[in-house]
């Protein structure tokens, strides 16, 4: 796959000021070198989507930003503050929240405990009433064991619990994976509403049809590098390329 100028010069965004700046990000799992110099920006209030095939390095990029990957190099700046060496708890307290691919619902906790687990790290989080307004199912299942919820409800819980923390930058890893179309639609509405509320969202998705309903910009990840990037307005013109990149 030919590398474009993207890797050196990330696509410009049209929304607010720069909130996340990733430069030459490299990451390793043990001896395996997974990210080979990722470069991209996210601006305040945007929804940016990382697209790519399985194993391209999308999830590792999110985990590296969150400080979950032990061995990292390069630069990650959040609100102009370097976080490449910060531990994940400190990164979370700066206002970054992460919703993992496997959802991470705790089986030993009920829905209420799962929902209230992440501490409030700063003011501005959604109050519980507003969260229940977004996800009415959760209100009815507060006493249930977290892992007894349906897949869709678990995904809602996983998103809901990071909304009350006050984090303004949300990273959602494949939130639609394995969900029914009606639930995917509901999650799409939720992301659109969160964007309206002022959240900045970095999304990892394989389902670009879903992503196209919410994203402002896209980056394509392959072999641990950003190989292309375009805005939502340019999506139609890049469809053929995208099909090739994603192998769909």
């Amino acid at each position: 796959m030919p590398e474009t100028a993207m890797a050196e010069a990330p696509a410009k965004a049209a929304t607010g000021g720069n909130i996340l700046q990733v430069r030459n990000l490299e990451a390793w799992y043990g001896e395996s070198h997974i990210l080979h110099g990722i470069n991209f920006d996210v601006n305040a209030g945007e929804v940016v989507t990382l697209l790519g095939r399985n194993g391209a390095g999308k999830t590792t990029t999110l985990k590296s930003i969150m400080g979950i990957i032990g061995k990292r190099a390069g630069s990650i700046k959040f609100n102009n503050q370097e976080i490449i060496r910060a531990t994940s708890d400190k990164i979370a307290r700066m206002g970054i929240a992460f919703c993992p691919e496997e959802r991470g619902i705790f089986s030993s906790l009920d829905v209420r405990e799962n929902l209230l687990l992440p501490p409030v790290v700063r003011a501005g989080g959604l109050p519980l009433e507003q969260i229940f307004d977004l996800f009415p199912n959760l209100k009815e299942r507060l006493g249930s064991q977290g892992t007894k919820l349906s897949g869709g409800e678990q995904q809602m819980l996983a998103i809901a619990r990071i909304l009350r923390t006050g984090a303004s930058f949300l990273m959602l890893d494949e939130p639609t994976e394995g969900l029914a179309p009606v639930i995917i639609q509901q999650i799409g509405h939720t992301i659109a509403r969160l964007k309206k509320e002022g959240f900045t969202i970095l999304l990892v998705e394989q389902n670009f049809r879903f992503a196209s309903t919410v994203a402002d910009r896209y980056y394509v990840v392959e072999h641990g590098k950003i190989i292309d990037g375009f805005s939502n307005a340019e999506l139609a013109a890049n469809m053929d390329k995208l099909h090739t990149y994603l192998g769909v």
Binding site: D89, A92, F106, S107, S108, E113, L116, L117, P119, I162
Partner: protein, 287 residues
């Protein structure tokens, strides 16, 4: 019948120590995934701490109940920070060997300075004497040990199962990486949890001092039975440890009455039976 009730009481007292110690072990195993073989030595340190506080500082039993768990708990936290934390993610065997080595060193040091015989620790004045219950004579101190242990065990259960802090602990047991990514300082929480588990062992040591005297090997004698209790209750299960601790103490006491020859082995026979029927323990869940 008097003898039966007396053995039941002895069983309940032993059960109190089993419950407090196995509870600490369960908390540590659940959170750190470490089989803490140093637990018996730390229990002994709790008793010695009470002894030193009284004989060197003139600090009485009631203050020792508060201070000894804190002092030994801090010692435990130093152990965790300097040694145990490096074992995270390694096979259980490494933790077991390290803590076994720590137990041998701690016991060896105390044995070197204090010998093997017991040092006396007096029952506090307020808890001397006994009560005639009609069917048996109950020494007040022994009744206190049973009731106080039960209260501490239930308070620990409440802390872990019903509070926000407990939710953090339970969640971190399942997925520490994600809990840390929520902004919780998991390494610090692990250190404090180890301190809590060690503090419970030290508290049991203080309670035990007036009954069993203060001896360097008092923990080594007990720890094998306590491990059997933890295995029967289910590794890492809080309520399982409490119930099994008290129940096995009573069963041991009853065996002493009905068939004394088997009293030292009944716990291990039960352990084998439970492992055969339910390898995860009575209240443990499969991994």
């Amino acid at each position: 019948m008097q003898a039966l009730y007396a053995q039941l009481l002895v069983g309940l007292i032993n059960g109190s120590f089993y419950a407090l110690l196995s509870l600490g072990l369960a908390v540590i195993f659940g959170m750190l995934n470490i089989i803490n073989f140093a637990h018996g030595a730390l229990y002994m340190m709790g008793a010695f701490c009470a002894y030193f506080l009284l004989n060197l500082g003139g600090i009485n039993y009631w203050w020792a109940l508060v201070l000894a768990p804190i002092i030994v708990g801090i010692f435990g936290m130093i152990l965790e920070r300097t040694m145990l934390q490096w074992l995270a993610g390694l096979d259980h065997l490494y933790g077991l060997l390290l803590t076994f080595g720590i137990a041998l060193i701690v016991q060896g040091v105390f044995q070197n300075y204090f010998g093997s015989s017991g040092l006396p620790y007096a029952i506090p004045d307020q808890l001397r004497g006994g009560m005639n219950l009609g069917f048996m004579f109950l020494p007040v101190y022994r009744g206190w040990v049973v009731v106080f242990s039960l209260v501490v065990c239930l308070a620990t259960w409440f802390l872990i199962e019903k509070t926000r802090l407990g939710a953090y602990l339970r969640a971190a047991t399942e997925n520490p990486t994600l809990v840390r990514a929520f902004g919780i300082n998991v390494p610090r929480m692990i250190t404090l949890t180890y301190g809590l588990g060690v503090g419970l062992a030290a508290l049991a040591g203080v309670l035990s001092a007036p009954i069993n005297q203060v001896r360097p090997l008092m923990g080594a004698d007990l720890i094998i039975v306590v491990f059997a209790v933890v295995v029967i209750g289910g590794m890492g299960s809080i309520m399982g440890s409490i119930i099994t601790g008290f129940a096995l103490g009573v069963i041991e006491g009853l065996t002493k009455y009905f068939y004394p020859e088997a009293s030292n082995t009944v716990v291990f026979v039960l352990m084998v039976l439970v492992l055969l029927v339910k390898p995860t323990g009575l209240t443990g869940r499969a991994a």
